[in-house]
């Protein structure tokens, strides 16, 4: 079963372009949105299970140069129109 989550990212000043470029390489990410709010980037992650989400956030996202903080929000239910 697919697990979907939003990961809110804070990025080191001046690194946003490089981080977006790195993020676009991952097939797990369906939306990479640069925002003008409390977070610098919002990414939408879709993976097979919770263990893979944990691995993706801790071993992949957090190792990208420029990402200083992550916060994950797991999707329980969604509606699209």
């Amino acid at each position: 079963m697919t697990v979907e989550a939003f990961v809110l990212l804070n990025i080191k000043t001046g690194s946003i372009k490089e981080v977006i470029k790195s993020l676009k390489e991952f097939k797990e990410l369906s939306v990479v949105a640069s925002t003008a709010g409390s977070y610098d980037l919002v990414v939408n992650v879709k993976v097979e299970d919770l263990a893979k989400l944990h691995d993706f956030v801790t071993t992949t996202l957090q190792r990208i140069e420029g990402i200083v903080q992550t916060e994950s929000l797991i999707v329980a239910k969604k509606i699209e129109r």
Binding site: T2, E4, A5, F6, L8, I20, S30, V31, V32, A33, S34, T35, A36, G37, S38, Y39, V42, E71, S72, L73, I74, V75, A76, K77, K78, I79, E80, R81
Partner: protein, 378 residues
């Protein structure tokens, strides 16, 4: 394959569908009621095949073929009736006009949907919208040029009546989709079956079905196959791309329809009759281009924003249902975390974004905190 390629391919297949329909109506089916009736049942079968093979991939909420809730069935019935009227009129127009005109005028539905949204959101029309409406209107006028004069009848039928019916159809599609426990694919299946039943009951006396029709069925399946392929690719491209950008790329079908018709006018001139004078081509080409530019501006002028909402305990489901009622809300995610809900808003101007958040979202009972993350790039 990335979402841009998928969206462009969906435009290509939709164009093939329009030109294929036109060919079928000119050459294969002398009776449009035969074509409508056969096509409607072919659509039911293709919908079932798509649901069976791609259902879970297209819609994560899909759990198998089943009956939709009573309330959405009511909306689906109305959508079925308007869908039937739209299909018949479209086929009739494709029989009497060439696909470059009909194909270019179909996107005008968006103008009626914007007027509907303005009515519901009680917003005033923006300068950009008004400008785009004028560009599209001039384009529609130019594209109607035929035989040395402007054909106002094609603007009235293909430009206004056809798109008004399509807008009503889209409106009821949306109302039904917003009902609780309604999944998109079963809802679409119900509408497709309703439409086929309406055709069977209402237009059967007008048909002249015989064994000869058996040899015509593959043509109907062929055309419908491209329509469904276009639709499926459009839905798949929406999974990764922004709705506005994908819709703009999908509009490439106007250009593809134009291209295919021109090529076919040289290959089989008896079927695709087009005038061979420069004024005709300039008027028609410029008309299609203006319509495309106006619609693409409207489609791309969308501001998107994620809204993070903290809710009072036990109020989450109530807020979720209230948010579903807002036209501007495109996606709602219920999450485990410090924000109970994440909402994707899409509005047509920056000012409307603030109005939606302050006057429609913040006032919902049970919302404790709202923070906004405007999408700058996605």
């Amino acid at each position: 394959m990335n979402y841009k390629t998928l969206a462009l391919l969906s435009g290509l297949f939709l164009a093939i569908n329009i030109v294929f329909d036109s060919y079928n109506l000119q050459v294969v089916f002398s009776n449009i009621y035969n074509y409508a009736l056969i096509g409607s049942w072919v659509a039911v079968i293709l919908t079932l095949v798509i649901m069976f093979f791609f259902g879970k991939k297209l819609d994560t909420n899909f759990k198998g073929v089943g009956l939709i809730p009573k309330k959405s069935r009511g909306y689906a019935l109305v959508a079925g009736f308007t869908g039937a009227a739209y299909t018949l009129l479209l086929l009739y127009l494709l029989k009497i006009y060439d696909p470059t005109v009909v194909g270019a005028l179909i996107p005008l539905t968006l103008l009626f949907l914007i007027i509907r949204d303005l009515y519901y959101t009680k917003e005033k029309i923006s300068v950009l919208e008004a400008g785009s409406f004028i560009i599209v209107a001039v384009g529609a006028f130019l594209i109607s040029f035929k035989g040395g004069r402007f054909d106002l009848m094609v603007i009235l039928t293909a430009g206004i009546i056809l798109n008004l019916i399509n807008a009503v159809y889209s409106h009821f599609m949306k109302l039904g989709m917003d009902c609780p426990n309604t999944d998109a694919l079963n809802y679409r299946l119900f509408i497709t079956i309703t439409l086929a039943v309406i055709f069977t009951v209402c237009i059967f006396p007008q048909t002249n079905l015989s064994f000869e029709v058996l040899s015509q069925i593959p043509y109907s399946i062929g055309s419908m196959f491209f329509a469904f392929l276009g639709y499926v690719l459009y839905l798949l491209s929406l999974k990764d791309g922004k709705v506005s950008f994908v819709s703009a790329l999908n509009l490439s079908y106007v250009a593809f329809t134009f291209l295919f018709t021109v090529v076919l006018a040289f290959v089989i001139p008896k079927v695709f009759l087009l005038e061979l004078n420069s004024t005709f081509w300039i008027m028609r080409g410029l008309g299609a281009l203006l319509i495309l530019v106006g619609i693409v501006i409207l489609v791309l002028s969308v501001f998107s924003s994620f809204i993070f909402i903290k809710c009072e305990p036990r109020k989450v489901n109530y807020i979720y249902e209230e948010l579903k009622k807002l036209n501007e809300v495109k996606k709602i995610y219920q999450t485990f975390g410090k924000h109970s809900l994440i909402v994707l808003l899409e509005v047509k101007s920056e000012g409307r974004l603030g109005n939606t958040i302050n006057q429609k979202i913040r006032i919902i009972e049970g919302i404790k905190e709202v923070s906004e993350a405007r999408i700058v790039k996605s």
